[in-house]
Amino acid sequence: MSERLRTSLGPLTLANPFVNASGTYGYGVEYASFVDVARLGGVSVKGISLLPRPGNSPPRTCETSAGMLNSIGLANIGIDVFLAETLPQLRELGVTVIVNTFATSIEDFVELAARFDNETGIAALELNISCPNVHAGGMHFGVSGAAAAEVTGAVRAVTDLPLMVKLSPEAGDIGEVARGVESAGADMISMINTIRGMVIDVDRRRPMLGQKMGGMSGPAIKPLGVRMVYEVFQQVSIPIIGMGGIASLRDALEYLMAGATAVQVGTANYSEPGISLRLADELEAWCSERDLTVTDLVGCAQGD
């Protein structure tokens, strides 16, 4: 891949703009036998918490029109196993590692960040703030600018890693949340996380998922993600990593043109685990036909 695809997100530079999204690519290592994972722009690993988590009661996934719901419940191996076993493998493979992490209290977020800060081989930290804040009545950190800024600021104080905060589309005013995390020291924003939905099994007359609700992802939510990236681009000056429903070059271009400096690919990995590399190659061809770089595209649909 050429210089054309290189994209710079403040303290983080990626060889190409395609990162695989957290929760949809495991820890990346599982794919190494048949995908050249080092060539990916990056891999955002499955969200990591202080303790391992077994996840929610099944069923945990179901399909919706042009999308899916998941209620995995952030099942993960926990930070100890991740640092001891997985991170060394990722370093070995040469993967650009974005560590996605989550907690239900600010103290836990801080503890996680402080521990990751001591490690080598982490390109950036991505805070998933779409979790209920157990110390603040269960409202999730991602719905208000103040709560999001508080957790961002606390983490910023303990790490020099490039810091990415992942926004939820369920915020009443996503621009306000974006401004909040920027002012608290985030280096970049990733967006959007899933939006909660429900499917009812009309034969059983009960919600399809064990947890009743699940996060919606896939092509169905793409217009929402593109709109929000377009809006947030006008309100912050830190770079944005756009995601939600990307499954083709055209989808990725929409996000870049709306204002994203890089993108993440989630659900589409399930049908094609190598899709990000294919899209990177397609983007390379598209750009060189037009003699453009990725940087030229960022936000180019904003003009009128």
Binding site: G23, T24, Y25, G26, Y27, E30, Y31, S33, F34, K46, P54, G55, S57, P58, P59, R60, T61, C62, E63, S65, A66, G67, M68, N70, I72, A75, G218, P219, A220, A247, T267, A268, N269, Y270, S271, E272, P273, G274
Partner: protein, 257 residues
């Protein structure tokens, strides 16, 4: 594990609403043991978004899967034609662990559960065994591949409406078979209720039993954590990489009598 962009090379319709799709494997074959599966998707645009899991009916230079049309994904697959594009990802999971200590193999299939068990029966035949094959369905139209089974196994059919074979559930001939005293091993695949019943009958005869489970899947390879099934100790197993084939005790617990 391979990710293949391939094409359908043959389609047959072994029963109403069922299609047997054969596809070209890569230059090297897809190696697989019975019970392993593949994730399949056609060139469908944006809906459905996920690939679908299917047990391999055969592997090698060509792969083959049996598809029963029950929802959007399987309907699209069932209506595919020779030369249509297919994306096939596999082989995945852990298949049946074939006993080589001389136990008599008893295969118990319900519905499309026949797919991995036909593969297994052929594998056993290749090893010189002629397994007992118990095949249950609702009615005569739901017995795909019965003729193929009869070539390699001793076949007993039950239907709930009695239209073919014995009337009743497959557990009746299973009871009889395990009562006859021969040391057996049960391999089964089918609807959840049937699996549990088959495991129960096997356990009551102290007969080892391997069950192949189903669960909704996204990744098929252990990364999404979608295909969890709860096990008796309160933790989860993942169908796609701990299974789909499990020793029955792992899923249903050890005998409590």
């Amino acid at each position: 594990m391979k990710y293949l962009h391939t094409r359908i090379t043959e389609v047959t319709y072994p029963a109403r609403d069922h299609a047997l799709l054969r596809f070209a494997a890569a230059a090297e074959d897809i190696p697989a043991v019975p019970g392993e599966f593949v994730m399949i998707r056609g060139d469908w645009g944006c809906h459905p978004v996920l690939p679908r899991a299917f047990s391999l009916v055969e592997s090698g230079a060509h792969g083959a899967v049996l598809v029963k049309a029950i929802g959007p994904g399987t309907q699209l697959l069932e209506s595919m034609k020779v030369d249509d594009e297919l994306v096939v990802f596999g082989a995945l999971g852990k298949g049946y662990r074939i006993d080589d200590s001389g136990l008599r193999p008893v295969l118990v299939a319900g519905g499309v559960g026949v797919a991995p068990l036909l593969f297994l029966a052929r594998e056993l035949a290749a090893r010189g065994q002629r397994p007992l094959f118990l095949y249950g369905a609702g009615t005569e139209h739901d017995l795909p591949l019965a003729d193929e089974i009869a070539e390699v196994a001793e076949l007993i059919i039950t239907t709930e409406d009695g239209s073919v074979g014995e009337q009743g559930l497959i557990t009746a001939p299973l009871q009889r078979a395990l009562q006859d005293g021969a040391d057996s091993i049960v391999y089964t695949c089918g609807p959840n209720g049937m699996l549990k019943a088959v495991a129960g009958v096997s356990q009551s005869h102290n007969t080892p039993c391997q069950v192949a489970l189903e669960a909704p899947m996204a990744c098929g390879m252990g990364t999404c954590k979608g295909c969890a099934v709860p096990i008796p100790d309160g933790s989860f197993k993942y169908v796609c990489y701990d299974g789909p084939v499990f020793d029955a005790e792992v899923i249903y617990g050890a005998a409590d009598e």
